[in-house]
Amino acid sequence: MSTKTSLFQPALVAPAVRQAFVKLDPRLMFRNPVMFTVEVGTAVMLVVTLGLLFRPDPAQGSFGYNLTVFVVLLLTLLFANFAEALAEARGKAQAESLRKTREETPARVLDADGRQVSVSSSALQKGQIFLVEAGEIIPTDGEIIEGLATIDESAITGESAPVIREAGGDKSSVTGGTRVLTDRIKVVVSTAPGESFLDKMIALVEGAARQKTPNEIALTILLAGFTLVFVLVCVTLAPFADYARTPIAISAFIALFVCLIPTTIGGLLSAIGIAGMDRALRANVITKSGKAVETAGDIDVLLLDKTGTITIGNRRATRFWPAPGVSERQFAELAALASLTDETPEGRSIVELARSLAVAPEPLHQRLAGAELIKFTAETRSSGVTLPDGTRLRKGASDAIRQLAARANEPFPQPTSEQVDAIAGNGGTPLVLSQNERVLGVVELQDVIKPGIQERFERLRRMGIKTVMVTGDNPLTARYIAEQAGVDDFIAEARPEDKMTYIRREQQQGRLVAMMGDGTNDAPALAQADVGVAMNSGTQAAKEAGNMVDLDNDPTKLIEVVEIGKQLLMTRGTLTTFSIANDVAKYFAIVPALFMVAIPALGALNVMGLKSPQSAILSAVIFNALIIPLLVPLALRGVTYQPLGASALLRRNLLIYGLGGVIVPFLGIKLIDLVVGLFL
């Protein structure tokens, strides 16, 4: 799904062309007021052209000329329809590939008596329980209630590495259409038939659930307003021309009207919207509505979990601080010995640090033979080993070891105590090591900040977005990491309700907040946030609460989503500006053409030096038609967003699309006139 496809794939173009004709149906056209008026104009042109076939009228021009105008107008409509159809086709193609993963699969449902019954996946009811084993496809969305399994989710995420899902906790949800690779799980169905995640996705990408967003509605109002102005201009022109004794052909009226109304943006508007959701999908983010993408562009505050987003996720041992009277090598050896059986990332990093101090782990392994392993418990808050010779090695939080030492009447060395505070002050975690309750020193564990994350936050800052780090760490540690990573604010010792409070507070001040989460306890905050991105690996509750789902489970995805939202609005804005700016040149092409014959003095307005009134009108409508397909790639790919600050961005886009929109049609119409002039 994340594969890049070219814009004009032959497989997509053919159905899009077909759809372009189907969409000529006025009932469909009516949704788009700008293009609907073009269709009315085209129909009138058809009547005029056919009329000329039976009764030639010199005032209306030749049959061939009128036919040409009609054909160009029809092409304008088809081009606009094609753009929309192409955008839809790209969505449909993805829906197709999704649908393949949703084939009917028999599910082994456990009935009330615990017997297995085979039920078709499409008939599974919410609350039923089914079994899946290695090699089988999960029939529908659900929560694991028993067991653990590795699952291949590549069908929906495109990610080939298998993931582990297990009962309880935040990794318990499974998605229909994914494949179990190992083990066996018992799953309770969490969605009603036809409402599974996959079903929703398919409906979304197919555009069935697409509704106009508020911003799109406001823009449509503006465009309808512009269209009305030009209806007025063209209608009132008739009596004006009567007054000035300047007969104007119907084709010229319609050409003037179609050229002046904002057909470029009118024709591309829905394609832009569809393409926006499509871009989100390509980033492996499923949005529940187009509005969510737009809102993402407006985000003021971004809540990010520290672990996995800002830091690599694990603390690493960075330095050993032996107590007085303990050599560093001795300390390193004992620390490694205490950690060899500790499979946590922290434990492994201690062994690695020791190895870098030339402590080879192999001989240590031998000393461990027959040792008793002490697991970490929340009660003792320490772990370690008891060697066969009775030596007790313990590592743990400083207060845990301090108690241990105190009970054995061992002192807690002053330098080590100072070091513990210093490490905490630096945002690290002190891990104190003891041997037979005697304090040996402290291991410094530090969070490792992801490379390049500072630049991303800087980019967000230039977009005007405040970043907030959410962490369970104490305020001291949190502050240190926040400074290192360059986030603007942090919530330390965060509980789920703290997130809610923070989001509410920001929202009360009028800011829009985005957050990412995966756990069930994130669900209220996800629902409260203006943009809530749930990770696909997260619980069903989280996925239901958020308005987007990230298939890659990538916590930095929010940044991309924000850019996609901004890009969507910008594409609309730039094409509107371009479309309206084009009118200046079109006026200078058509207005002199309308009056030049009767009022030769107005030939002075023909600044482009177009060959004849007819060639001028044809050139303008041809330009107007051609610009639509020429801008399709821009509409579908979107305008590149650069975080320059609003004013600089406005300056840049005004220059390119405003000034460019004034100049380009002057050149384009002149060029077309040179060609058209050859035939007239």
């Binding site: 102005v229 009132t236 005007g464 309308l594 886009n653 005004l654």
Partner: protein
């Protein structure tokens, strides 16, 4: 000579600015209810409120504001109709002028009610002194105060808070009169009286000219009325010839004072917005856009008027003083051009020369001044018109920077867009549809339908276009050359006047009211600042494109065709 003329224009403009800045600061204090210079007027105001039974501490929503505004306007309309159609039998009529016909009374009452002052009559013979005072002068005060009060509602609504309480309309309205229009008018009237403008209740003065002819010179309470005519951007003169009349505008000095008086409140209100909202940069942006637009219209007019008429040059007429046909020699070509442009961009519409005789491109810029109707604009309403353009500009610019559009921290959504689009659409609709109907009448049967059109061809077209543009812009000046006191013109322009006055007040006030109720979004680096030069360019482009795009064909058939035929 030419340089002196240009220097005097620069001087008048600088004086306007020098007065408008402190006046803006003063107005902001007045309407914020802070201590200000004329607080000794408070007993007078309180007396009025007590008499009328108004509790000014009761704040109003935007709907209540509009209801109050429309209600008092309706009452004034009834009063004006009554006096105009019975003035012949009422006192204070020394010249024995007759009562007005119903269609003319309708047109006149509406016209002054809406601050337009399209005059299809001549003051000397058409109005009694009573009508001049209780209809014309009275409406000139209250219609200006209505516009200013509506603008203050906008100021109040644009503050950074969420509310639907937007102050008290009567408070704003009465203060506009007691703190601004009345004292200002006294100052202007004093200058006029000392320069020779009449201020008397006596009737015509008979006198024998040097040639020995006996004439009767019309007099009346002129100075008082001319002062508020300019200060309140009304424009309707005491005399038919308006400020070209030697008693209404006797000297170059009075010309400069009158011209400054009509500009000062619209400019001051822009600064007042900045002071009121404590966003001076926003005011400078708006002022900059308005000034660039004004200068762009002024420059061609001054240029073409100073260079004379090429048709006359061909006949060997010396045009060293510029195109003087239809102008007063005591003002000269440049000051007349300046006057005509200030009076069209600002919907005052008083004239000190005949716009009909201006060069075609000057006529075009006069028309454009009224078609845009937002470069300074009339008392209060200029700013409201500008606000509608601003909403559209903010919307497009917001999209251009990738954020749903917001103005001063309030989101612009479908409802606001709908109103802004309707308001900006209304102006071309009224102008083009009115002109089209009239052009159709003429084209169908010139002799039967349109005996009123003196000039056929392009110039005649400009005359019709101008009349409707002037009505739709609530400007009130005439291109002349039209016999406009006919039922068709009286009624059609009367209807246009009503629509063009009240809808552009209702629309922007409604938008402001809707915005005031919305949540305030604090500004960030991603927010589009509305107070930068870049955004100013955007607003100017929107104004130019909306005006130019809608009116280009009409302008091509009128002034442009005439220009290119002449040059």
């Amino acid at each position: 000579m030419m340089n002196n003329e240009l220097l005097s224009l620069g001087g008048i403009y600088l004086v306007t600015l020098a007065l408008a800045l402190p006046l803006g600061a003063y107005l902001a204090r007045v309407f914020r209810g802070e201590k200000s210079l004329l607080d000794f007027m408070r007993p007078v105001e309180n007396g009025i409120f007590r008499l009328a039974g108004i509790d000014v501490r009761r704040e109003m929503s935007w709907q209540q504001h509009l209801l109050a505004l429309l209600t008092i306007n309706l009452v004034w309309f009834g009063l004006a109709m009554l006096v105009l159609s019975t003035q012949g039998s009422l006192p204070l009529n020394p010249d024995q002028n007759p009562s007005m016909a119903p269609d003319l009374a309708f047109n006149t009452a509406i016209s002054f009610l809406v601050n337009c002052n399209l005059q299809h009559y001549s003051g000397e013979s058409g109005l009694s002194y009573l009508a001049q005072l209780v209809v014309i002068t009275f409406l000139q005060f209250v219609s200006a105060a209505t516009g200013i009060a509506a603008a203050v509602v906008l100021f109040n609504a644009l503050q950074t808070r969420t509310t639907d309480k937007l102050g008290n309309f009567y408070d704003y309205f009465v203060k506009s009169l007691t703190r601004l229009l009345l004292p200002g008018s006294v100052l202007v009237a004093l200058v006029l009286v000392f320069s020779g403008t009449p201020m008397t209740m006596l009737g015509k003065q008979p006198l024998v000219t040097l040639q020995g002819d006996s004439v009767a010179v019309s007099r009346g309470p002129v100075a008082a009325m001319v002062a508020i005519k300019e200060l309140g951007t009304n424009g309707g003169g005491f005399y038919g010839a308006n400020s070209a009349h030697p008693l209404e505008n006797p000297t170059f000095l009075t010309n400069a004072v009158e011209n400054t008086a009509l500009c000062v409140i619209p400019v001051a209100l822009v600064f007042a917005l900045g002071f009121y909202l404590r966003r001076p940069r926003l005011a400078y942006m708006i002022f900059g856009v308005m000034t660039v637009g004004f200068a762009a219209l002024l420059a061609p007019a001054v240029y073409y008027e100073l260079h004379g008429n090429p048709a006359l040059t061909k006949l060997g007429v010396d045009q060293a003083l510029g195109a003087l046909e239809g102008k007063e020699i005591r003002f000269g070509a440049a000051a007349s051009a300046y006057w005509s442009i200030t009076n069209t961009v600002i919907s005052c519409g008083s004239v000190n020369s005949m716009h009909d005789s201006f060069m075609p491109l000057s006529g075009l810029t006069q028309l454009l001044g009224m078609m845009t109707n937002a470069f300074y604009g009339g008392c209060g309403v200029g700013l409201l018109n500008f606000f509608a353009y601003l909403i559209i500009a903010v919307f497009i610019a917001g999209l251009l920077v990738g954020r749903t559009p917001e103005l001063l921290g309030k989101k612009i959504e479908a409802r606001e867009m709908k109103i802004a689009v309707l308001v900006t659409l209304l102006h071309p609709l009224l102008i083009l549809a009115g002109t089209a109907l009239t052009a159709h009448l003429y084209a169908a049967d010139p002799a039967a339908n349109a005996g009123w059109l003196a000039n056929p061809g392009y110039h005649g077209f400009s005359e019709m276009l101008y009349e409707f543009t002037s009505a739709a812009a609530n400007n009130g000046s005439g291109f002349e050359g039209l016999g406009d006191n006919t039922p068709w013109w009286n009624i059609s322009t009367g209807v246009v006047l009503l629509l063009a006055r009240f809808l552009p007040i209702i629309g922007p006030v409604a938008i402001a009211g809707l915005l005031a109720r919305k949540k305030y979004v604090p500004e960030s680096a991603g927010t589009l600042p509305a107070d930068t030069a870049t955004f100013g360019v955007m607003v100017l482009a929107v104004i130019v494109i909306i005006a130019a795009l809608a009116f280009f064909p009409a302008l091509a058939l009128g002034p442009l065709a005439e220009h290119f035929s002449l040059y």
